[in-house]
C-alpha cells in the first residue's frame, strides 16, 4: 500500500459525528481492515470528534480539522484538531472517569481512544485548541 492522505473540515455540530467517523472508516477501507478494526477506528474517531464539539467548542460552533494518513507499513494516522478552549491539564484529562462534562458523560473518551488504537497523543494549549493523534496498525483480513 502506498502512502495516501485525506483531509476534511466539518462544523462542530453533533449531527456530523456520525458522518465524520464513517468518512474516516471508509477511507481506511483501502487497507482491507477487519470488521473489528473498522469498529475500533469508528469508535476512537467518534470520541475525538465528540470532544471537540462537547468540550472544545462548548459554547460556540467552530471547525474540526481531520486528516487521515495511510502509512506504507499498513497503519493509519488520524489527526483531529479543534481551535477551541484547550485543556488545562492533559494528564488529568486522560485519567479514566475524569470529566468536566456533567452527568451524561462517563469520562471514558480518552480511555476508549487509548485502548482502541495503538497510540494516542494529545497536544493542547489553553484558549488555542486541542490536537488528538490516533495511530493504528491495520493487520487486515488478508494477512
Amino acid at each position: 500500500m502506498t502512502a495516501n492522505e485525506f483531509k476534511m473540515t466539518v462544523d462542530s455540530r453533533s449531527v456530523n459525528e456520525s458522518f465524520a467517523r464513517t468518512a474516516v472508516a471508509a477511507f481506511t477501507a483501502q487497507l482491507d481492515p477487519t470488521v473489528e478494526e473498522i469498529n475500533d477506528i469508528k469508535t476512537a474517531v467518534s470520541e475525538a470528534v465528540t470532544n471537540c464539539i462537547v468540550h472544545g467548542y462548548k459554547n460556540s460552533v467552530g471547525k474540526i480539522f481531520i486528516t487521515v494518513k495511510i502509512k506504507d507499513d499498513n497503519a493509519v494516522l488520524i489527526t483531529i484538531k479543534d481551535r477551541g478552549i484547550g485543556i488545562e491539564d492533559i494528564k488529568k484529562a486522560r485519567e479514566p472517569l475524569f470529566t468536566t462534562g456533567g452527568a451524561d458523560r462517563a469520562g471514558l473518551g480518552f480511555s476508549v481512544m487509548e485502548s482502541f488504537t495503538d497510540k494516542l497523543t494529545v497536544r493542547s494549549s489553553l484558549g488555542r485548541g486541542t490536537t488528538v493523534t490516533l495511530y493504528k496498525r491495520i493487520l487486515g483480513r488478508s494477512k
Binding site: 459525528e17 467518534s46 464539539i53 452527568a103
Partner: protein, 110 residues
C-alpha cells in the same frame, strides 16, 4: 423513535436501535427517563440487540439510567450487546452496576 418501550409485570423493557453517540443519546435518554419516572419499574432492561454502533455516550446512557433506577429501588439489566458494544462497555467496568447479558431477550413485544 430510536427507543421502543414496553412495561409489563413491573419490568420496563427498552429496545434501543441504531447508532448511540452524543448526538443520538439525548432523545433516547429523555424517552427512557420519562418511562422510568412514570412506571417506576422494579427492573429496567435495556436491550441493545438492534444497536449498530456505540461510543462512550452509550456508557453515559447506562450509568445515568442506573442512578435513576436506583433512586426508585429498581435494578438495571443490559442485554443484547454486540462484540463491539461489549468491548466499549467493558472499559467502564459496568458489570459492577448493571447485570450484563450478552444475548437479547426473546420477545414478541417489539
Amino acid at each position: 423513535m430510536s427507543v421502543k418501550t414496553d412495561f409489563q409485570d413491573e419490568v420496563l423493557y427498552c429496545f434501543l436501535s441504531g447508532e448511540i453517540d452524543h448526538h443520538s443519546a439525548l432523545p433516547m435518554r429523555l424517552e427512557i427517563d420519562d418511562k422510568i419516572e412514570i412506571s417506576r419499574p422494579k427492573e429496567t432492561i435495556l436491550d441493545f440487540t438492534d444497536v449498530t454502533f456505540m461510543d462512550s455516550s452509550g456508557i453515559g446512557l447506562v450509568m445515568g439510567r442506573y442512578k435513576l433506577c436506583k433512586s426508585f429501588d429498581g435494578t438495571l439489566t443490559v442485554c443484547g450487546l454486540s462484540d463491539s458494544s461489549y468491548k466499549v462497555m467493558k472499559l467502564a467496568g459496568l458489570s459492577n452496576i448493571a447485570n450484563i447479558k450478552k444475548g437479547g431477550i426473546k420477545n414478541d413485544r417489539k
